[in-house]
């Protein structure tokens, strides 16, 4: 009796400690994010001392009383760097939340926006917009809204197509098998990438625009892009967070979920929709950026465990951090202001990291 009480007591303490650790981790990540935003605004080819950077940021916030900052410096720090940092941050957070949700819903550690063809759909929508000239070159410069809209529409259309394909064998939409979903996703993804190649070979003049866009980059993006994307991201994140508890239940498996009284099919549809909104909006403004959605949730699971109420916010913060710093690398590695596509940086960082995870898992050392 006493022993049992002690175990329960220990379990409670364990739980409390885990929650404390999670809160601490979230606080640390949030502080790191704040510091990163300021630091990242100070880095780039235009010379700016930390003091000048800070003054420019304060001036933009209306908190700087002294002499006005050099206008060029203010544009560089606020309109160019801060805008990119904000966009990279919300994009990274969105991709990470979406990745966690896809992995939870599909109970597949390899799942992300690519698996269900959502990224492919967005990329196809954008390619089509570039090729048909609705978007032209002006879209990325913020003059037209057509490109992001087409990308988002493409993402949701791809999801609809995958769901439609999955139920082709009959049965209600709410009762889909995970394996079927993944298979349909891969088929749609592959088909879409073939279509993109087709578009590219049809019009050589657009190839560089399409390739540049698909590789993923924050170059030339401004606050207008963040403004375009955040409502969808917020909506998507809202849906996923609202159903975070259901994600936990879903990841136990179909039967358990039903035993616990969860309408698994419905819950899954909602979560897929939310995650697709998130990744569609992310792809819409920044192109296809891989590995964030895949790697970040894994990292967080290693540190904080699989509970989605902790996993989701921590993934969001870590995703934002990862993408902000990847973008800093992308824009500062090459001399004279030349840039790497940020998708290349995340893949270069994410690839080896993923190998490491696999190796640990292979040797039985990790929980991932």
């Amino acid at each position: 009796m006493a022993a049992q009480a002690r175990t329960e007591h220990d379990a409670g303490r364990e739980k409390g400690r885990a929650a404390g650790a999670a809160t601490l981790a979230l606080a640390v990540l949030a502080c790191a994010l704040l510091a990163s935003v300021v630091l990242a605004c100070g880095l780039g080819s235009f010379p700016a001392t930390p003091g000048e950077t800070l003054r420019a940021l304060l001036q933009a916030a209306g908190l700087h009383a002294g002499a006005p900052v050099d206008p060029s410096l203010a544009v560089v720090v606020v309109d160019i760097r801060l805008a990119r940092v904000v966009l990279a941050g919300i994009t990274g957070a969105s991709l990470a939340i979406a990745g966690a949700a896809f992995q939870g819903v599909l109970r597949n550690p390899l799942a992300d926006a690519f698996t269900l063809g959502v990224s492919g759909g967005a990329a196809f929508g954008a390619s089509l917009a570039i090729l048909s000239g609705i978007a032209g070159g002006a879209a990325l410069a913020g003059d037209a809204r057509a490109l992001p809209a087409c990308a988002l529409a493409g993402a949701l259309a791809a999801l609809a197509l995958v769901l439609g394909l999955s139920r082709a064998g009959g049965g209600p939409l709410s009762n889909l098998r995970r394996e079927t979903l993944v298979l349909a996703g891969i088929v749609v993804s592959t088909f879409l990438s073939a279509l993109i190649s087709l578009l590219k070979s049809l019009d050589e003049e657009s190839v560089s625009s399409i390739v540049f866009w698909i590789m993923g980059s924050f170059q030339g993006r401004g606050f207008e892009h963040a403004a375009l994307a955040w409502p969808y991201m917020l909506l998507g994140a809202g849906i996923v967070f609202w159903r975070a508890g259901e994600l936990d239940v879903l990841s136990l498996g179909e039967t358990q979920a039903r035993m616990l009284g969860l309408d698994a099919g419905r819950s899954r549809l909602w979560l897929l929709f939310g995650a697709s909104l998130l990744s569609g909006a992310a792809v819409a403004v920044s192109g296809v950026i891989g590995f964030v959605g895949l790697v970040v949730p894994h990292l967080v699971r290693l540190a904080l465990g699989a509970g989605h109420r902790r996993l989701l916010p921590a993934s969001a913060l870590l995703g934002a951090l990862l993408l902000i710093w990847s973008d800093v690398l992308a824009r500062s590695v090459l001399p004279r202001g030349a840039e790497l596509p940020v998708g290349v940086v995340t893949a270069l960082v994410g690839g080896p990291f993923f190998c490491l995870l696999l190796a640990r898992r292979g040797s039985g050392g990790g929980r991932a």
């Binding site: 235009f46 544009v75 000239g133 032209g136 070159g137 003049e205 980059s217 004279r336 202001g337």
Partner: protein, 258 residues
């Protein structure tokens, strides 16, 4: 170029992007300049295939043509000196060497006149030449555009030694260009005017309004029109230095050539 040599009638086919002069627009297309189609070229039974050196993919089919016994000449013109030698060689290959010599002489004379005019320029503005945006690409120090800028009395503010330079908006702000040239054409189909790019609002070119669109075909494709490009740019950069003598003879001669 062949048009200028009076031999445009000898052209039997073109690439997809060649639409000038108007009379060749109706000719069969043998593919694009990046991926010419070997079979389509052979179908025209050409005596001579002319190509501007470009990417590797573009030269493979042409190499294959050479192996099949078709006469092939591949050119590179990254400066006016190279352009002149290309014109002379094309002249020789098409049996119009004297016309080619005339054309080169005329171009040299106009460039010399332009040089003399620009020697009087008090200041040489820092010029930024935008090849493509978004995914900003600028003209670097190599290539014909760089020489056009120099001949037109400007200084290319992009210091990259290559023909093209990738750079960020931040770098453009750091370079402080006094004139911003945006080429419009296949490489840059829908560029925004500088006035609609709020992040570049503080560069000197935006403040002074010295920003212009130019024709990619005229500036970036080496040919007789490259001298027109240099003269046009000189007029934009140095409106105070009017050409002293626009002799009718010269103008008429020019018209003949075109």
């Amino acid at each position: 170029m062949l048009e200028g040599l009076g031999r445009a009638d000898a052209i039997v086919a073109r690439t997809d992007a060649d639409r000038l002069p108007a009379r060749i627009a109706k000719l069969p297309v043998i593919g694009t300049h990046m991926r010419p189609n070997e079979e389509a070229v052979l179908a025209q039974r050409p005596d001579l295939v002319l190509q501007m050196a470009g990417r590797k993919e573009a030269s493979l089919p042409v190499e294959a043509l050479r192996k099949r016994g078709v006469r092939v000449a591949v050119f590179r013109a990254e400066s006016f000196a190279e352009l002149f030698s290309v014109i002379r060689r094309v002249g020789t290959l098409t049996g119009s060497a004297p016309q080619a010599e005339d054309m080169v002489r005329g171009m040299e004379a106009r460039l010399a006149a332009l040089d003399a005019r620009m020697a009087r320029a008090k200041a040489r503005p820092r010029v930024f030449y935008e090849v493509r945006s978004p995914n900003l690409l600028a003209a670097g120090q190599a290539g014909l555009v760089a020489e056009i800028i120099r001949r037109a009395g400007g200084v290319n503010c992009v210091e990259d030694a290559a023909k093209f330079a990738h750079l960020s908006e931040e770098e453009v702000i750091r370079l402080e260009p006094e004139a911003y040239i945006i080429q419009r054409g296949p490489m840059n189909p829908a560029p925004l005017p500088l006035g609609k790019r709020p992040r570049l609002r503080t560069i000197p070119a935006a403040a002074s309004g010295r920003a212009w669109f130019v024709d990619e075909q005229k500036y970036a494709r080496p040919g007789p029109q490259s001298v027109d490009a240099a003269e046009e740019l000189a007029g934009l950069l140095h409106p105070e230095l009017k050409p002293q003598e626009i002799t009718p003879a010269k103008g008429a001669k020019h018209k003949d050539r075109k």
